[in-house]
Each structure stands twice: as structure tokens, then as C-alpha cells.
């Protein structure tokens, strides 16, 4: 379990810090609950911010988000799930 937590915590910390920096959010990483909605309610980010989030993920993790995959951007946790899944697939192929 500790390995799973460590792997997930690393992705969460990286993503939160980059998100706060890029979008100039007035919060600390601890303030951002991983389930908080990124778009619409919750952080209330708009479509331009969504583009920034996609760039943030690509920059931090070298992972592409398909245009049609809106489900990934629903919360920090859904982003992290996607990143971990893609990293696992890359690792499997390596």
C-alpha cells in the first residue's frame, strides 16, 4: 500500500503545484482536495483554463490527452488516474 500511495502522491503533488503556478490559483496544494471539480462548479475554471490544464499535464508527465476525453479533466483525481494509467502502459511497453 505504501508504494501505491507514494506513486500517487508524487503525481498529485506535481500536478497541483503546476496547476497553481500556471493558473495563478489563490490556494496552497493542501487547499485543493483531489476530488474538487476542475471545470464548472468547484474551481470554476473555464474552457481556456481547460486548455492550460491539458498543457500542464503534457508538460509535467509527457502524456497527451485526446480531445474527446473530457472525463479525464473532471477532477484532480481523475487526471491522476489517467496519468498513472498511461505511465503504467508506457512502463509495460518499455
Amino acid at each position: 500500500m505504501q508504494q501505491t500511495i507514494a506513486r500517487r502522491a508524487l503525481v498529485i503533488d506535481t500536478f497541483k503545484n503546476e496547476l497553481i503556478r500556471r493558473l495563478n490559483l489563490p490556494y496552497t496544494p493542501e487547499d485543493l482536495h483531489e476530488d474538487v471539480s476542475l471545470l464548472g462548479s468547484g474551481l470554476g475554471l473555464d474552457s481556456l483554463d481547460a486548455l492550460e490544464i491539458v498543457l500542464c499535464i503534457e508538460h509535467c508527465f509527457q502524456i497527451k490527452i485526446p480531445d474527446e476525453n473530457v472525463a479525464v479533466l473532471r477532477s484532480i483525481n481523475t487526471v491522476v488516474d489517467y496519468v498513472l494509467e498511461q505511465q503504467a502502459q508506457k512502463g509495460g511497453r518499455a
Binding site: 500500500m1 501505491t4 500511495i5 500517487r8 490556494y27 493542501e30 482536495h33 483531489e34 473530457v70 473532471r74
Partner: protein, 369 residues
């Protein structure tokens, strides 16, 4: 006990009532799961008149509201709605609120866990009367229209301009010659609208919405279905996890707070707890079988010791399994982990990323329909 201005209409339609903090609410009409499914697949109409509603002139209301709620009221743009909360002096949750900037006035709504007289004491002490607030709670009815097809009904009744309304915005409409405030809101993760109408025109509006709802395969709903819908969509529910935890920080409501403000109710206590660091927070958990007693207050175990408590539980119709929120120590508050429910050797529950479903409403673009 306060009752809804629409009590006669909903009772005639078969409503089953219960009491919540001194207010009568419609629990359900029939099977809760059918009402839940109606919102996900079509549309549900629910009497939300249990909410408190106030109208305040902009000039006096802006300072009063900004000194009261955790969000930043002066920053609300014209026609937009702020989702925030009201806390008591100890920084503990009292109400889940919308503040709408409606031209020369503010509309302020509260889903409160305080009975009306106690909420009134808090609001009056904060200067409600001096702000020239008008209490609309008993003079207006509130209806919630939620679901994948709800936008069609709003378009039919109020016109095509309503289709482009962004989430968390307010529009002034009319029905049968009476004014109707239309808030594009909702906490189900499907399209949602909150409609506020004076008592005089509310019954006719209810009948029209009910007819349109039923034509689309939808149905009347109660608050029980909404409790599960909110849980499934991971919308904050003041009547479930809010009431049980009370502290907005473990609940993950920091996004509702403007931490640059230092004058809202409960501000000092909340900031002090924030400085002290977060020790626990809520995360989603799911049981593998419907037999697992994933109920409010149930204990969760890890390596033989109790680590967490279920603070809101329900059933996900979409996932077809019990679903809950539990309060975990932050070092274990991650999704994708397995725990035991009720005892060190109890049934397995798994923490999960929320929201766990993809609603139909997020898969369509209204301007392309």
C-alpha cells in the same frame, strides 16, 4: 413546522413527507432509485421550497453578504451566481449558499442545517435588517429541475435564449404574467435549474413543469434521490457529510473560500485551523457488494486498527453499488486502496476517485443540438 407553498400540489401527486431541521420536505414519491434514474436518463422535478431565500438591494446587500459568507461577493459579475457557504462564529458550517448578482439586487439562498429561528438570529446579528433584506422564503416557491433533458423543458417554457445560460448564472423570466428567477445551477452533475416563483404563480408553473417532465419520461422526485445524486456526482451535501463533519476544510470546501478576506463569519477559526494543517479529509469509498453495511457512522479498518468513519452513504444507480464518503487521516486519504468495513476482518471496501460516473449531460454540447 414550515411547509412548502406547493404542499397541496405535491401531496396530491403522492408525496411522502419528512422533517429536516424544522422544515417539511418531500422525501420521495415512489421508489427512490426510479427517481434517481429519471434524473440521469431524462428529467426530475423536485420541490426545493425548503431553502431559505432573501432578496437584498445591491447597495446595502453587498457589504452585508460579503461580511457573512466565505466567498467574495463584490467579485460576482452581473448575472452570475457564487456558490459558497455560511459558517458560525466557530467556523462550522451552517448553510450551503448561492449568492446571485441580479442587476440591482442580490438573491441569497441557503440550504441550512439550522432551524429557521436559529438562522434568523445569526443573520439578524450580522445585520440582515439593516441591509434591507426581504425574506422570500414563504412568499415564493423554489423548484429544482434536473436531468439530461431539463434544458428542453426550460427552452419550451421560457424561450430559446435560456439554452446558452452558463452554469451558475441567473436569468429573469416570466410565466403566466408572474416573474420567475431562473438559476442555472443544480447539484446532480446533469443539467440543472432552480426556479423561484411567487406563490401566486407557483402552482401553475409546477403543473406546467410536471406535464413537460412526464412527457419526456421524467418524474417527480424527492430529496432522498437528490442525496444519492449529489453523492454520485460528488457535489457537497450540507444535509449529509456537511452536517456530520461541519468543518469545511476536511470536506474539501476551500474552493468556496476567499482566503484574502478577513471579515466573513467564522473566518478567524477557519484560518487558524488551516494554519494548523489538515489532519483528516473525506474521500469516496465503494463496497463490492450490496450486502456490505456501508452506512453512516460505519467504521473502516486498516491493518487491524480503526482508521476512518463513513460520513455519508448512499447507492449509486449508475454504478449499481453502495457508495459513501468517509473521513480518513490524510496519510491514507488516497483513492485505489483497500480497507475493511466494520471490523478488522470485515468486507472489503475500496477508496475511489470521485466523481465515479460520467453524466450524460457532460457528453453533449447544447449548441450543437
Amino acid at each position: 413546522m414550515r411547509t412548502s407553498p406547493l404542499r397541496g400540489q405535491v401531496a396530491a401527486a403522492g408525496a411522502l413527507f419528512s422533517s429536516r431541521h424544522g422544515v417539511e420536505v418531500v422525501s420521495r414519491f415512489g421508489a427512490c432509485r426510479a427517481e434517481h434514474a429519471a434524473v440521469r436518463d431524462a428529467v426530475g422535478l423536485t420541490d426545493f421550497s425548503f431553502m431559505r431565500v432573501f432578496r437584498l438591494p445591491e447597495e446595502q446587500g453587498i457589504d452585508f453578504l460579503d461580511g457573512l459568507v466565505a466567498g467574495n461577493v463584490p467579485k460576482i459579475r452581473f448575472g452570475r451566481v457564487l456558490h459558497t457557504f455560511l459558517a458560525d462564529r466557530d467556523g462550522l458550517l451552517v448553510a450551503d449558499c448561492y449568492v446571485a448578482n441580479n442587476d440591482q439586487e442580490f438573491i441569497f439562498t441557503c440550504e441550512s442545517i439550522l432551524p429557521d429561528p436559529q438562522l434568523d438570529v445569526l443573520l439578524l446579528a450580522a445585520g440582515l435588517r439593516e441591509a434591507n433584506a426581504e425574506d422570500l422564503t414563504t412568499t415564493h416557491a423554489l423548484l429544482s429541475l434536473d436531468g439530461f433533458k431539463s434544458w428542453e423543458i426550460v427552452k419550451n417554457i421560457f424561450g430559446p435564449d435560456t439554452v446558452g445560460l452558463p452554469y451558475l448564472s441567473i436569468e429573469n423570466c416570466s410565466f403566466g404574467g408572474e416573474p420567475v428567477c431562473l438559476l442555472r445551477a443544480g447539484k446532480t452533475s446533469e443539467f440543472g435549474y432552480l426556479l423561484m416563483a411567487p406563490v401566486k404563480g407557483a402552482a401553475a408553473l409546477f403543473d406546467a413543469l410536471k406535464s413537460e417532465t412526464e412527457q419526456r419520461g421524467g418524474r417527480l422526485c424527492g430529496v432522498q434521490a437528490h442525496d444519492d445524486l449529489r453523492l454520485e456526482g460528488r457535489f457537497f451535501n450540507i444535509f449529509r457529510e456537511g452536517q456530520r463533519v461541519r468543518d469545511p476544510l476536511p470536506l474539501g470546501l476551500q474552493w468556496m473560500i476567499d482566503f484574502d478576506k478577513d471579515n466573513f463569519s467564522g473566518c478567524a477559526a477557519i484560518k487558524q485551523r488551516r494554519t494548523g494543517g489538515l489532519r483528516r479529509k473525506i474521500i469516496g469509498v465503494a463496497a463490492q457488494s450490496e450486502q456490505a453495511a456501508l452506512e453512516d457512522g460505519a467504521r473502516i479498518f486498516h491493518e487491524g486498527r480503526e482508521v476512518a468513519e463513513v460520513v455519508a452513504s448512499g447507492f449509486s444507480v449508475v454504478l449499481d453499488q453502495p457508495l459513501a464518503l468517509a473521513l480518513f487521516p490524510v496519510e491514507l486519504a488516497y483513492s485505489g486502496l483497500s480497507f475493511r468495513l466494520g471490523a478488522p476482518d470485515g468486507p472489503v471496501v475500496r477508496s475511489l476517485s470521485m466523481p465515479p460516473i460520467m453524466p450524460k449531460s457532460l457528453m453533449v454540447k447544447l449548441d450543437e443540438m
